[in-house]
Symmetry: C2
């Protein structure tokens, strides 16, 4: 590898932890690498930050390449900079996580990858580079965020039931929550709008459908809402 000593002595990259929700399970989107090192292994999607590109635009670009999505929730989590974290040179990487709605989403292999695939977050046990550590930090950050603010609606379809929301919270926190307490608390926040419709075609009592009140959400975000579930 001529890498370390040639054009590229040091560089910065971003790595993206893209979360989705499927069957009440928290998923993460990985790519099958088409480049050395770790070619053909499943890893976090990432790329070098271009010299004329704002740092924050790099994860946006990757997200758009892989999913076609723009304007998704995106949060910077931590920067990883061990000298030997990349076997081919000095690369400091900034870890971001984002939340996307998996409905109608067909991630496509982009230039950086030969394949993309969703994986169960809590079943992964290792990843190349320090990607496993990055993933763990992002999970913890997501869990903390979800506890203190009503985040994660990005993971739900446009109209959803209260049980969907609870499933989401249980998937993210990876634990069960009390139904009555959850509903009481969540409804009292006034973030949900009753759309006056019900589920159809389900083999049980159909649930009320809600949508999400964006304006209230922004208000809460602005003054740092304290949400503890």
């Amino acid at each position: 590898m001529p890498f370390r000593n040639s054009f590229f002595k040091s560089a910065f990259s971003v790595d993206n932890v893209i979360f989705g929700l499927e069957n009440s399970t928290l998923k993460v989107l990985l790519i099958k690498r088409s480049e050395v090192p770790f070619i053909n292994e499943w890893a976090l999607p990432g790329d070098l930050v271009r010299v004329d590109e704002d740092l924050r635009d790099a994860p946006k670009r990757i997200l758009k390449e892989l999913t076609g999505l723009q304007d998704v929730y995106l949060d910077q989590v931590h920067t990883f900079g061990k000298v030997d974290r990349h076997p081919l040179g000095r690369v400091i990487t900034v870890g971001y996580y984002s939340l996307v709605n998996m409905d109608n989403l067909k991630p496509r292999a982009a230039s950086i990858a030969s394949k993309v695939k969703w994986f169960d977050v809590f079943e992964l046990e290792s990843l190349p580079f320090d990607h496993f550590e990055i993933l763990q930090k992002c999970i913890r950050r997501l869990q903390n965020s979800v506890r203190e603010m009503p985040i994660g609606f990005e993971l739900l379809p446009e109209r959803f039931t209260l049980s969907d929301v609870q499933d989401l919270y249980e998937a993210v926190l990876n634990k069960n929550l009390d139904k009555r307490n959850f509903r009481k608390k969540f409804l009292s926040m006034g973030l949900l709008i009753d759309v006056k419709k019900y589920q159809t075609g389900v083999a049980h009592r159909p649930a009320k459908l809600y949508k999400f009140e964006t304006s209230k959400y922004e208000e809460f975000k602005a003054k740092g809402f304290n949400f503890e579930i």
Copy 2:
């Protein structure tokens, strides 16, 4: 400036927000820059990360150069990467904050600075580069940390009174707290050891002295203690 187009197309740096406490006021250590750009202006101490240096070691190095201190509390806060944040080239910077005990501490001008000086955190209104933004993020991080875990003992002398602790919290949070409630709550955590001594030479009833129980602290940190004041 030949900077932008010559050896240095892009680089990463760290910037350090070093907090101290003096007269119940939260302070931050700034340096008077001895280099372009912004020569002779007061700014956060920072430096490029060396190619063979772990990211986390860079703020440690700076801290040691300026204060002689090692093993101080250090937390990575955020990475700043606007294309134009540095006028001479592309520099992405990682912001760290640390907490140091100002007693017996004589910060010295190091290679990066002609002078160093403590400033009142809440009186600063602007700084060069995006340092003001970095400072603000670090303040918020410190405030959140202090709210949810018993952090900040690094800012106190080895033996202190309960009022010292309250002063610390008030300085960090920049607001007044109820004395009885504070004491009740703080003592109930069991983090303080009564050293069975009292202040001397004060013109009022002398206060009990405490020291800090490190083992309990580590225990709390490990399981993510929930401290809300």
